[in-house]
Symmetry: C2
Subunit: 189 residues, 2 copies
């Protein structure tokens, strides 16, 4: 069902996608105009419509994100916190644009918020349920972890609060790892 007829316009398609990712990440949904994206990709605005249907279609194509969550089997219980924090930091830095765009749009656009909820439900929750001693507590614990990770990303990559930006990557891991570890495995207070 996955056919791959290489089209002559693939270069243009990916150029649009790359430009859109950058614009959405830096400007948010409303301020990222199709005209600006098209200019960045050096094509006509109408091409965006032809290839992605609408602005929301383009936005959907951009935010097709895979958190590449680690295999719960391979995580050692005693350093799972550090592993998770490190994983999220890597994820955010490597493919900065997409996650920042996702966060920005999730905050402004209702559809974006639901997209984020879906990612949490489909990618984060299952991992938490396999690690938690009591799977029933998994949602709450996962929610707490996400609140800390998203909060850090918010302060560091979006709001750019000076102290959050100044922290070295290893410092962030050293500070957050115990928090995540506790949210995940400590007894319910």
């Amino acid at each position: 069902m996955a056919e791959k007829p290489p089209r002559r316009s693939d270069a243009t398609r990916t150029a649009i996608l790359a430009a859109a990712r950058e614009r959405f990440a830096s400007d948010g949904y409303e301020r990222a105009t199709i005209r600006a994206i098209a200019k960045d990709a050096q094509i006509d605005p109408s091409m965006v419509m032809r290839y992605y249907g609408s602005k929301e279609g383009l936005f959907d194509a951009v935010l097709d994100v895979d958190l590449r969550m680690p295999d719960p089997q391979r995580l050692r219980p005693h350093d799972v916190g550090e592993a998770l924090v490190d994983h999220f930091l890597t994820l955010w830095e490597e493919n900065n644009g997409v996650l920042t765009a996702l966060l920005r749009v999730g905050v402004t656009n209702p559809a974006g918020a639901q997209r984020l909820q879906g990612i949490f439900r489909d990618q984060v929750l299952p991992v938490a349920q396999r690690i938690c001693p009591d799977p029933e507590q998994a949602p709450a614990r996962a929610g707490l972890i996400v609140s800390q990770m998203l909060g850090l990303a918010l302060a560091r990559y979006v709001l750019k609060l000076p102290p959050a930006v100044a922290l070295a990557r290893e410092e962030v891991v050293a500070w957050l790892a115990p928090t995540v570890q506790r949210y995940l495995t400590a007894p319910h207070p």
Copy 2:
């Protein structure tokens, strides 16, 4: 220098301000249109311009926020974490609109981000510097605390992640208090 000539239009002014607060909170800066705000306040859009100059002027007037940070002198070192978490939760729930608006706009609008930075610098940092044993570490520690508190607000009040919404207020305090306490007073890892 603070003159208070009671104007006949004060009712309208506050009506505009209230409507703007709600609209900015629920829609963000770009989607909150002056026309919608004016309709909510049951007046003409041009009145907004007359009384607040421009959309950004109105936005400035709305986001004049005071965190009412507690007096550092009165905080007991052993439960400062709990006190801070409780304070921020109260703040957010009482005065829901303004802070949600601030967060939403801070994420989308560069001016909003700087406004948030200013609040952090002027209201949060000074308190942290009086509590921290080593004032030089205060910015980093305050940044970490803010990342956790903003992250929780983001998940609970903006994105409305189900697990973060489902948590009872006391549970949130019980989970976050030790985190904040550690960020504030634990030795640098």
